[in-house]
């Protein structure tokens, strides 16, 4: 109509309103039609917004704001128009401009600078709704510049009309966080508002601001405790009380005498109040901050019980939450309610189920962990996949907490891990993998059971089809290879490792399988070729070669091995017949030969290692087969020599490695580590991660110097070619960096003095329900004198799995609390002059203060109440109070000053309270 020129009158006459736009969007189906409609409308808006007619402009901006907020359309290009409209004399246009600004402005926009003057003008407007607009906008888009420039204007509003005052107070929070120096100007006025009992909303906003401030740095607000106490006792507004309770929950942790004083009124509220929100807040405060007061906790737990038995799901959920808060200090409360907790595990509500699960886990101790886990596994089987994994996850994390602190019977725990692997929905493969290997390395006594559990997993072909448990199978394969000496039937493990369905595994895990094959093979050959010879004798050959190497631990280990094997009825001589070994060699060669051409280097390399050994052995052993008279010379075969070397290399035990081990290696002189390598930081981060993950593949012996899993390969080759050399290197390394190795000597000696892991006294009653958990489980802490045997768990000194993260505090928070402290402690020199309070009032007023405080205590205010919702029975202070307003305010001001002065003499505060 208007052609390509500027916006014309016709445009503004037939402009689409926001309603038209919304209806238009609704008419078009979501998708292409709608988005083309929106982009058409955007074109219109772009044209209209340039109009000189402010009505047209405002409507365009209104539409744009709508599209921005609900359809995610960019409107940063229209920022200037929004600023322009805020200065419109028309309230509607001004409001449109401010809404656009508060919904779309970024703190980094240049155009913000243009808004400062308009905000100042509107903050001092006589129209309270214009002031509201400015405050609302400021509370969202406040920048340090705005805060600095507008602090004086906001300061004025802090003592204005209630309607504005409460908004200005709420806005202060943002101002403080952007410009901490504003605290010096506004803080006293803010404190004054704690006395505004005449208007509940103003008080609520004030207390709300203090609640936010105190949650960040409570200590600075301790001097205000008398004020808060008075509100706690006097106020009957639930919104106010909730916030005050939150403040006291923060403060009480710092000042135990304060807790003593405050706990009574809190209990009164808890007993008296009908409002569930307030009751719950009291409960929360008591159980999280006042848990030393027996009577209060009892009362709180009784209230929690009411919540738990309520038909309202929200209350039941909160009841469980409350219980979870009590648990760390008063576990009896949880045990008292365990029926409800257990029942909640099968609730339809996921939230309730999760809370219940957390509670159940909080009940776990070393006495009942077996029963609780059994019940939970039962629940896991019945639950939906998501919750099932939640259960498994919490079991895994609880049991492994603090290096398996609560696990006493590791045989049981290993079988539990294996059982988890068989749960159809199990998706915690990674964690289970980690724990299986970790336990293997840490707990010597459990290795036979570990191998048995691993075997059961490996021989089940069905498990290979489930990608979620591939990681667990990887651990099972590693364990079976590493600890093959505990196996009853190594041939069976070999078959399991080579079964055809292993082609379903990803290459990384398959290479673990193949490497385990190598270990099993060398073990079998060793047992076959050198049956009579104890490993000790073969070892002794090497003693003269490497005099620096200590054998004490290895020898001991091997005697243990013999013990284990003979006790399990495993007779090497019967098992390792010529025929069995030849068959095994054939199996290895036929199954692995196709893989020698694998595209995966890792697989290919490992396969070739295995094949090299197997083919050599096959040749010589089948030769032998023909000439039986030469059997006696088995020991002199080339294979025997190699096998002996390999076995020696493999028999070195793994131990857990501290995450920081590598970092503790001293930097050799003359080596500049950071030179030109700073850019590698990101890569190094990856490498470090892989160290912890590649536990299963890496010999710890090499870890401190070389964290890459490829080193394993090298290790093997080295040991095949020049074992003596590598051994001596290892020995030397061990000597030099002894401190990075676990004090294994010590541990091993200790372990031999311990009885076996299997505890014959372990209760094995078939309590199906956790509800019936006997009262013995009430014994929460493990008794130090308990004679229950527990296998040695190798522990490192420092945290191994998680690097410690340092909590960073917001710099601004520090600045705020610094400023608050300055104000409260009376460094008022720089204070805004409009506050009449002087320091000279000091002493005399603190006496005033005492009196006022006392009267405040005793006089309960009557007020008319009004019901709002279900939970907060909001009790408005009646306006009849406002008669006393002016006088009261004056007095209040003085009292507040008293409070501040009191703060100056730190000693005095507690006197009022205690």
């Amino acid at each position: 109509m208007s052609g390509g020129g500027g916006p014309s009158l016709m445009d503004s006459l037939f402009q689409r309103t926001l309603d038209d736009l919304i209806k238009g969007i609704r008419l078009h189906l979501p998708g292409a039609a709608q988005s083309s409609f929106i982009s058409k409308s955007l074109d219109e808006i772009r044209r209209e917004i340039k109009s000189t007619d402010s009505q047209t402009k405002a409507t365009a901006l209104q539409k744009l704001t709508y599209l921005h907020s609900l359809h995610g359309i960019d409107m940063s290009w229209a920022a200037f128009h929004a600023v322009e409209l805020t200065s419109s004399p028309s309230f509607l246009h001004k409001k449109t401009g401010y809404l656009a600004a508060s919904l779309s402005f970024r703190p980094s926009m240049d155009v913000l600078l243009l808004l400062t003057n308009q905000l100042r003008k509107d903050l001092s407007s006589t129209n309270q709704h214009e002031v509201s607009l400015a405050l609302e906008c400021l509370s969202v888009i406040c920048t340090p510049d705005f805060a600095r420039d507008l602090t004086p204007d906001i300061f004025t509003l802090l003592s204005g009309k209630n309607f504005i005052r409460k908004k200005a107070i709420a806005c202060l929070l943002m101002v403080f966080s952007q410009y901490p120096d504003a605290v010096r100007v506004c803080f006293k006025r803010l404190v004054d508002n704690l006395e505004s009992a005449d208007n509940a909303q103003t008080l609520a906003a004030t207390v709300g601001v203090f609640c936010e401030l105190a949650s960040k740095e409570p200590r600075s607000y301790l001097p205000l405790a008398p004020e808060f106490y008075r509100i706690l006792v006097d106020s009957r507004n639930n919104w106010v009380l909730i916030k005050v309770l939150k403040i006291f929950a923060h403060l009480a942790k710092l000042e135990p005498r304060l807790a003593k004083k405050v706990v009574e009124p809190i209990c009164d509220h808890m007993k008296r109040s009908e409002a569930k929100s307030l009751v719950f807040e009291c409960v929360r405060a008591i159980v999280s901050s006042f848990y030393e007061f027996e009577f209060a906790v009892k009362l709180a737990v009784a209230k929690i019980r009411e919540f738990l038995l309520d038909s309202d799901l929200n209350l039941r959920y909160l009841g469980l939450q409350g219980l979870l808060l009590v648990a760390p200090n008063h576990l009896w409360a949880v045990l008292e309610n365990k029926e409800v907790v257990i029942k909640s595990l099968s609730d339809v509500d996921r939230n309730i189920k999760l809370e219940a699960l957390r509670l159940v886990m909080s009940m776990v101790s070393d006495d009942n962990v077996v029963e609780i886990c059994r019940v939970l596994i039962g629940y896991a089987l019945k639950s939906d996949p998501e919750f099932c994994n939640e259960i498994l996850r919490s079991m895994l994390s609880t049991c492994s907490r603090n290096v398996y602190e609560i696990v006493i019977d590791f045989d049981w725990y290993v079988s539990l891990l294996a059982e988890m692997a068989r749960i159809p929905h199990c998706q915690n493969g990674e964690e289970i993998e980690f724990q299986l290997i970790d336990i293997g390395m840490r707990v010597k006594d459990v290795r036979p059971e570990l191998v048995r559990a691993g075997r059961d997993l490996l021989i089940d072909p069905a498990l290979l089809g489930n990608p979620f448990i591939h990681r667990i199978l990887s651990a099972a394969a590693w364990v079976s290879g590493e600890y093959v000496k505990f196996s009853r039937n190594p041939f069976e493990i070999m078959e399991a490792l080579l079964q055809p369905r292993t082609n379903l595994l990803p290459p990384s895990i398959r290479s673990v399988y193949i490497h385990s094959t190598f270990k099993v093979l060398s073990f079998c050959l060793h047992s076959f070729l050198l049956p009579g010879k104890g490993v000790n004798s073969s070892r002794s050959n090497f003693v003269d070669i490497e005099p620096g190497f200590t054998y004490s631990e290895s020898e001991q280990e091997f005697t243990e091995t013999d013990h284990a094997t003979s006790s399990s009825g495993f007779n090497k001589r019967d098992t390792f017949t010529q025929e069995a070994v030849v068959n095994m060699l054939t199996l290895v060669i036929t199954s692995l030969t196709p893989l020698a051409e694998s595209h995966d280097v890792e697989i290919q390399e490992r396969v070739r290692n295995v094949l090299g050994l197997a083919q050599l052995a096959q040749q010589e052993i089948s030769c032998n087969h023909d000439q039986k008279e030469k059997m006696v010379d088995k020991v002199d075969l080339k294979t025997s020599i190699i096998i002996r070397l390999i076995n020696d290399a493999l028999s070195e035990d793994f131990g857990p490695v501290s995450l920081s081990a590598q970092e503790r290696v001293p930097v050799p002189n003359g080596l500049v580590l950071e030179e030109n390598l700073s850019k590698l930081d990101s890569i190094c981060a990856d490498v470090q991660l892989s160290i912890s993950e590649s536990f299963s593949l890496v010999k710890p012996i090499l870890l401190p110097t070389d964290g890459d899993s490829v080193s394993n390969q090298q290790n093997e080759e080295d040991s095949e070619t020049s074992p003596a050399e590598s051994m001596s290197l290892l020995a030397e390394h061990r000597k030099r960096h002894g401190l990075f190795y676990l004090p294994s000597d010590h541990n091993k000696n200790a372990s031999s003095s311990f009885p076996p892991a299997n505890d014959p006294n372990q209760r094995d009653n078939d309590v199906e329900d956790l509800v019936k958990l006997t009262d013995e489980s009430l014994v929460l802490k493990r008794k130090p004198g308990s004679n229950r045997p527990r296998p040695v768990v190798v522990k490192l000194d420092e945290g191994e799995r998680l690097p410690i993260t340092v909590k960073k505090t917001d710099e601004n928070d520090d600045l705020i609390s610094g400023a608050v402290r300055d104000v409260l402690l009376g460094n008022e020199a720089s204070l805004h002059s409009s506050n009449p309070s002087g320091r000279r009032k000091g002493e005399s007023h603190s006496k005033d203060k005492v009196e006022n405080f006392e009267t405040g205590n005793s006089s309960k205010r009557r007020s008319k109440h009004r019901n709002h919702g279900k939970y907060v029975e909001d009790k408005e202070e009646n306006s009849e109070k406002s008669k006393k307003k002016s006088g009261g305010r004056h007095k209040a001001r003085r009292r507040a000053d008293g409070g501040i002065d009191v703060a100056v003499q730190k000693q005095v505060i507690p006197d009022f309270l205690l």
């Binding site: 907020s69 309230f91 509607l92 908004k167 609520a204 719950f280 939230n351 907060v872």
Partner: protein, 165 residues
């Protein structure tokens, strides 16, 4: 503090969204989508609270209430009381009810800026500033009057300019 107030319909379309900390609009949309994806899976007869840390970051909770076709959602942190927030939804809806008598989704769709006006009277900078729906209504009515006055004068001046322009 209250971090956000969102109204979404049961199809996942946002009807109102207000974030009290600066949040880029793309992120807002993303958050609304992920909140909806959790809400729409909630079965009936469950509690109205959701642990929000997985979608909304640490120390965040969420309370929602479904009225007919609309979810009213508050996102807040540990400085607020869950049940009080639940009541705040009630107050907000009560006020809408007073505004539109028999409020339905269409009222809410078509009165976008009024929804904001009501909300701004109740919450400012993430702090609750009014919980009495009567008082909220009173303020909202005053504001509407102010808006109408200016709109009317505009209309007059516009038609005048039409006549003479």
């Amino acid at each position: 503090m209250i971090r956000a107030m969102i109204v979404i319909n049961n199809q996942g379309k946002p009807r109102l969204s207000k974030f009290y900390n600066y949040t880029p609009v793309e992120q807002q949309q993303q958050l609304i989508r992920s909140i909806y994806s959790v809400l729409c899976l909630q079965p009936e007869n469950v509690s109205n609270f959701l642990e929000g840390s997985s979608i909304l970051g640490p120390d965040s909770r969420l309370v929602y209430k479904l009225f007919a076709t609309l979810y009213f959602v508050f996102v807040f942190d540990s400085s607020e009381n869950e049940l009080a927030m639940f009541d705040l939804i009630q107050v907000y809806v009560e006020t809408l009810e007073k505004c539109f008598s028999n409020v339905c989704e269409l009222d809410i769709v078509l009165n976008y800026s009024k929804m904001h006006t009501i909300l701004d009277e109740m919450i400012l900078g993430g702090q609750v500033v009014e919980t009495n729906s009567e008082k909220v209504m009173q303020a909202v009515e005053e504001i509407s009057k102010l808006e109408k006055v200016t709109a009317a004068t505009k209309l007059i001046s516009k038609s005048a300019s039409l006549l003479w322009g």
